[in-house]
């Protein structure tokens, strides 16, 4: 597993520790290149692009907006609950919620 960990440390955005998962969602949904994808997320979160990879700033932002945090204790949004918040925040329909909404009687 050295490969995945080493790349994450050397070059990765940081996933849920930061805004890596959010930028990845924008790349996948909109096919944007990295600069545009980062700018899109920063604009939606009202933070600067450099803050997207800061685990201190992003932990607070994620906790406040219910986007999912690394150590989710009681009464904090988790999993699919966070995805609803992420979808609303990013402003586009996420494929991962389509089936859920149908199954849960939300669509």
């Amino acid at each position: 597993m050295g490969m995945a960990i080493a790349h994450a440390q050397a070059s990765g955005m940081g996933g849920m520790r930061t805004a890596g998962d959010l930028v990845a969602r924008v790349q996948l949904a909109k096919g944007l290149r990295i600069r545009e994808a980062k700018q899109y997320v920063a604009d939606r979160l009202h933070i600067s692009v450099i803050d997207l990879v800061d685990p201190v700033i992003m932990s607070e932002v994620r906790a406040e907006l219910g986007l999912g945090i690394m150590m989710p204790l009681g009464k904090t949004p988790k999993g699919v609950e966070c995805k609803f918040n992420i979808e609303r925040l990013l402003g586009f329909e996420m494929n991962c919620l389509k089936t859920f909404k149908v199954n849960a009687g939300l669509a």
Binding site: M1, M3, A4, A10, G15, D21, A24, A29, G68, M94
Partner: protein, 348 residues
């Protein structure tokens, strides 16, 4: 004279003088430029790479602000290989919560679209469960793996047995039948996982069986994105150029055999790819500086030609990573940093 500690493509340690280091960088870069008919490295690039290999740091990383998105292949398989007692859903959470993965990937142990077909219902169930408990974008991945369509593992005569016998027409006909069968399976499994909520589909090691494999993937992608506009598909390649095992296959008027990454990405875009993953093979007889300079030349040309995000493949034996199961971080981190920063990459 002080020497620079680095490694060969098989991971063996080696020490190079500054002159040897510079020569390896130039030779590697020029080899790629010559093969791909693309620009070689600039003096500024050589300065960057010389400094990178002269540094004594055990581990290096990109400058703050240059971080990129990581996508993975064989996501849930890699923990399994280490004999960890976990299931696939646990593996996904380990990637997400411990490894800092920007995306996660669910896959079946056979990691090929054909064997997923009869168990697709089980795979959908697992995917839907995983989507409830994870946060990062979840891809479903597998390989086209055209070898599974040839006898004795499949219905078609084996072109790799026909070709050495000089039966070129028969081999080509067999490949054409294989393409049809594999497109059906890739589309079937990918559509099912998309409808279950996958955030993306990963076509991995595309072109492993040569141009028929690449064509099957392009055609499957075209069908899927026509049926599901906006569907996200990542196309990760198997080799630096498309091997012409058929030799006479075309997509959108372009001959597939012999295409290097900067040509491959253009066709991937036309077929509907969301992310493209170029591959440059590591030569184990050469040093990592030689391999890295060579990789930068190919991948930079690909990144320049692309409109969609480019996530270069940097696993065992590709992207200047040594052919070793758990590559040493000294060369791995150098390759990771250089590729991202010199090639203007969007991800790995």
């Amino acid at each position: 004279m002080s020497k620079n500690y680095t490694r060969m493509g098989d991971g063996s340690p080696v020490e190079l003088t500054d002159a040897e280091l510079r020569k390896d960088l130039e030779d590697g870069a020029n080899d790629a430029a010559d093969r791909g008919k693309v620009p070689s490295l600039t003096e500024e690039d050589y300065k960057y790479l010389m400094e990178l290999f002269q540094r004594k740091d055990r581990f290096v990383g990109v400058d703050v602000g240059n971080e990129v998105v990581l996508t993975y292949d064989e996501g849930t398989l890699k923990l399994k290989r280490h004999a960890l007692l976990e299931d696939r859903l646990q593996a996904l959470t380990i990637y997400e919560r411990l490894f800092g993965a920007d995306t996660i990937e669910l896959c079946h142990v056979d990691y090929s679209y054909k064997p997923v077909k009869p168990i697709v219902g089980y795979e959908q169930g697992s995917l839907e469960m995983a989507l409830l408990m994870t946060h990062a974008p979840l891809l479903y991945g597998a390989m086209p793996n055209l070898g599974l369509y040839t006898q004795p593992d499949g219905p078609c005569p084996n072109p790799m047995e026909l070709l050495p016998q000089g039966k070129i027409k028969e081999a080509r006909e067999s490949y054409e039948a294989i393409i049809k069968d594999s497109v059906k399976d890739i589309v079937f499994a990918s559509a099912a996982m998309h409808e279950s909520g996958a955030d993306g589909i990963n076509f991995d090691t595309v072109g492993a069986s040569g141009d028929p494999d690449f064509l099957a993937s392009l055609l499957a992608m075209e069908q899927l994105t026509t049926k599901y506009p906006g569907m996200a598909i990542e196309m990760g390649m198997a080799g630096e150029f498309v091997l012409g095992t058929h030799g006479d296959l075309y997509y959108d008027g372009t001959r597939l055999a012999g295409l290097y990454p900067h040509g491959q990405v253009v066709l991937a875009e036309k077929a509907g790819a969301t992310i493209f993953g170029p591959v440059v093979n590591t030569n184990t007889d050469r040093s990592i500086p030689w391999n890295l300079a060579r990789t930068v030349v190919f991948v930079r040309a690909c990144s320049k030609a692309a409109k969609i995000p480019v996530h270069a493949n940097m696993g065992m034996g590709v992207g200047a990573v040594p052919v070793w199961d758990y590559p040493p971080v000294d060369v791995l981190s150098r390759a990771s940093k250089a590729l991202v920063e010199l090639c203007d990459l969007d991800g790995l």
